[in-house]
């Protein structure tokens, strides 16, 4: 037993993430050029889009793990679903905040009632609801079962949110990478992919730690079960 939830693997992962963040900052703020139309504000893009995409990925993992739990009823899937949703919620919060700042600069307002923004905000609330279900004071097995269904139901919302820009042609700019490859400068494209990798690493790093913490919380709950049974049986002494 060591004292924390880290292992050699996660230490390497953590170091890579931190170094990656530093490199990403350098590329995003200094090395990559300003955009022709968006000018300096384009730098927001390297945080905004990777956090959004990684958050969507995190929620898909929650959905998949929820299905896994419903099929197998094994604790690992349940813990995985919860850990992924927590980290995803943090990333999605970063997406919303960076998006609002970016919106203030380019559109002049923090918020517009565009389909994608609205759906993303709703997705965030849904995830908060999911996390609320996970904290209900219930027997673990029952809570896991309820959470798995709510987690599964995050699926349609995540999909709708992800494809909102395609389905409703709105104010929000479309999926830049797939439609406008030619427009993007090589360095910008590299910075974007670097952002994806770094936020991906950050996600995995945090996920592993959250998974281990939640797992240990369950172990603590189990601790002393044999003792509790023995104590319960002692109540019987003297009754006949």
């Amino acid at each position: 037993m060591n004292d924390g939830t880290s292992s050699p693997g996660t230490r390497v992962l953590g170091a890579l993430t931190l170094i990656g963040m530093a490199v990403l900052l350098a590329f995003a703020l200094v090395i990559s050029p300003a955009d022709e139309t968006q000018e300096e504000t384009v730098r927001m893009f390297y945080v905004h889009v990777p956090t959004a995409l990684v958050a969507f990925g995190a929620f898909f993992l929650t959905v998949a793990a929820s299905v896994g739990y419903l099929l197998r009823r094994s604790e690992g899937w349940d813990v995985m679903a919860g850990a992924s949703a927590e980290v995803g919620a943090v990333l999605l919060a970063a997406t919303l905040v960076s998006g609002m700042l970016w919106g203030r600069v380019t559109w002049g307002v923090y918020w517009t009632w565009d389909a994608r923004l609205t759906l993303t905000a709703l997705l965030f609330v849904l995830v908060l609801g999911y996390l609320a279900v996970r904290r209900l004071p219930l027997e673990r097995e029952r809570r896991s079962r309820l959470a798995a269904v709510v987690g599964l139901l995050l699926g349609p919302a995540t999909v709708a949110c992800h494809y909102a820009t395609t389905w409703w042609r709105t104010l929000h700019q479309g999926p830049t990478i797939t439609t406008a490859d030619a427009k993007m400068d090589g360095t910008m494209l590299f910075t974007f992919f670097l952002g994806m990798v770094v936020f991906g690493l950050l996600y995995v790093w945090l996920l592993v730690h959250r998974f281990r913490v939640l797992w240990l919380e369950h172990r603590v709950e189990d601790l002393g079960l044999d003792e509790a049974i023995a104590e319960r049986r002692r109540e019987a002494v003297g009754v006949s």
């Binding site: 079960l225 049974i229 319960r232 009754v239």
Partner: protein, 234 residues
């Protein structure tokens, strides 16, 4: 013939509390087992485990030929359909009439309207009370309505939690008659009761539970009593 209930080292957790801490119990069909013990001994938990309403965390648990571990949807439903549970709560919709309630639960379990009518007649609910909303009945009348539902569902395993509570003298006699008839018809009956004299007079066996374990399991040897109610179910 295999027993209706077969438990070996059954443990059941309520949260982290082991309400059952290793129970060994067999109940044969036609038996009337009285479960007694102090408050908090695990009587209600044991009944709920037998109804597959609470999971048995470890140990062996067979009920009506179904292994409770790994019981899945359709099998669990088939088992539960054969279980009649009379608990502290009525399990009835307060705003529906007695007749509507009994008919709904009977038909849900695959019985028909005739079963429901017969059960209400047997519990003497076929008169004025028939069309009264359950929420407006007295506690004893509600208990009779719950019993009518149990009877109409024709369960193979009767699980009765303090069945005498709230019933008047006539109601208690009627209940004892029903239990005897049920056991003679091949149902296994487990009843938890503090009313030692009355319950022991109908039980074929008395089991004492304390601290989530069986501490005494003795055969009383009384024959199931003959029904005393004036009217009989067809």
């Amino acid at each position: 013939m295999e027993p209706a209930v077969h438990l070996r080292g059954a443990v059941s957790l309520l949260g982290r509390f082991p309400a059952l801490a290793g129970v060994d119990l067999d109940v044969a069909t036609g038996e009337i087992v009285l479960l007694r013990g102090p408050n908090g001994a695990g009587k209600t938990t044991l009944l709920r485990c037998c109804a597959a309403l609470l999971p048995v965390t470890s140990g062996e648990a067979m009920v009506l030929g179904h292994d409770l571990a790994g019981l899945t949807g359709p099998a669990r439903r088939a088992l539960r359909r054969q279980v009649g549970l009379l608990a502290h709560a009525t399990g009835l919709y307060d705003e529906l009439t007695v007749a509507d309630n009994v008919a709904f639960w009977a038909r849900a379990a695959g019985a028909d309207r005739a079963d429901a009518e017969a059960a209400m007649t047997r519990l003497e609910l076929d008169g004025r009370l028939r069309d009264v909303a359950v929420g407006r009945l007295s506690a004893g009348q509600r208990r009779r309505a719950s019993l009518a539902v149990l009877l109409a569902r024709r369960p193979a395993l009767w699980l009765l939690d303090e069945p005498h509570a709230g019933l008047d003298q006539a109601g208690r006699d009627l209940l004892d008659g029903l239990i005897g008839d049920g056991a003679r018809a091949g149902a296994a009956v487990v009843l938890a009761s503090h009313e030692r004299d009355r319950a022991e007079s109908i039980a074929t066996r008395t089991v004492t539970i304390a601290g989530g374990t069986i501490v005494d399991d003795s055969v009383v040897g009384a024959a199931p009593p003959v029904a005393t109610g004036a009217r009989r179910a067809p």
